[in-house]
């Protein structure tokens, strides 16, 4: 599984980064960046919580490496 960010949707709320700093950060413009996109099995729940924390659904989990 891999995290994908739709940066054009991001509204800089930062919720996802607060929940999942292992994979996500904001850049200087305040838009989300995926700092590590691969999701290990044990991380799945935390990653999904980070994704649900986004009010505008800017983050998605996709299949594959």
């Amino acid at each position: 599984m891999r995290i994908e960010a739709k940066r054009h949707l991001c509204q800089s709320y930062g919720n996802c980064v607060a929940i999942d700093p292992e994979h996500l950060d904001l850049d200087d413009e305040g838009l989300v960046v995926v700092t590590r996109d691969s999701v290990a099995d044990g991380e799945l729940a935390a990653v999904q919580a980070g994704i649900r924390s986004c009010p505008v659904n800017a983050l998605v989990l996709v299949e594959g490496e």
Partner: protein, 417 residues
Amino acid sequence: MPATTVPPGRILIVGGSIAGARTAQALRSEGFTGELIVIEPEAGEAYDRPPLSKEYLTGAWSRAQLNLIPGGWASLDATVVRAHAAALDGQGRQIRLSDGQLIGYDALVIATGLSPRRLVADDGEPIGHVIGTASDADALRHQLRDGAHVVAVGGGFIAAEAASVARGLGLPATIIDRRATLLEGSLGAVVGAHIAANHRNHGVDLRTQARITSIARDGSGAVITLEGGGLVRADVLVAGIGSEPNTAWLQGSGIRVDDGVVTDARCRAFGAAGVYALGDVARFYDVHSAKPRRVGHWTNAADQATVVAHNLLHPQDPIGYREAPYFWSDQFREKIQVAGHPDPDAHVDLLTLEGPTPRRIAVYTHGDDDGCSAVVTFGWPRGMVAVRRLMPLEPTTAEMLSELEELAAGARLVAAR
């Protein structure tokens, strides 16, 4: 069934907004395969509320952009019943809907949120707009045209955002509030004065320390009389005067209600087994302050959903909710973000941090130990991320400031992938 040890077979969620939708999503992503029923009177898919007084009110966003569940309720295999819950029988584990239908449950999740208070005209009937639902926002948006004078009553976020949207659309806007500054109730007088000045700079006519003595209907608008005799004529009147928890349906159920549904730190309600409450309607036991608190912010609802879902599915290994207080507001294209508890008695410093882009922040300090109780950032999302990372460590104000000064000074670049 020993309900305390076995995950429930049928979970009933009352209220299908942020708290309800996020609970349903968390249940399914945690592997719940049982029956999921959602009671929600509003038609359509679950939608987000904060944009109702922001991007959706300006017309920049469509209804589809508000969707909370990417694939909709169907993707969660949830049955949505379009009705109001009218009564709860906690002993018999069933609820009665407004149409008389009875629905049983193994576990019940109360997520009915708040309803905004309305202004009342001199004739005793409600008057003006509120912004609680997408239809409320639709009705208001259709009036925001042809130079209409928009008058928002109340000094909270809804009034401030409505005025900001009106000015953004080029309309004259007035705010009438009892207090001396804006957002004073939630952010205190120092930050309140800063925000009020920002509104004045953007052409909002602020009538502070004003008391309304009369609201008379005038065509589709209203004439408002203030104490001392001032008159304000509104083409469009918007109420931002607070809201009430939707708990009327719980009367007589035995569930403890006291300005919201009272819960323990695990989001369990009192008075009946297998009942949880979360989001705006809940008054949860806050482990931080050791007091029950009701919080009307988005992140609280979404974070509690994770706790409720976990506790429903792992009754033998329950977790507690520890609030990481955070909310935001958008005014005049600037994001105001608040982390922590901006205690009105705290000492507040309004500062500008030097750097390539000067950053305006407010820092709240309480007590003798220099503890930082809250930080407000103005248009600096990256700074707020640093604040939210630090806040759980209970930093002193000096520690918080040195972190933020460093961040503001160095333009640290993060490589985007």
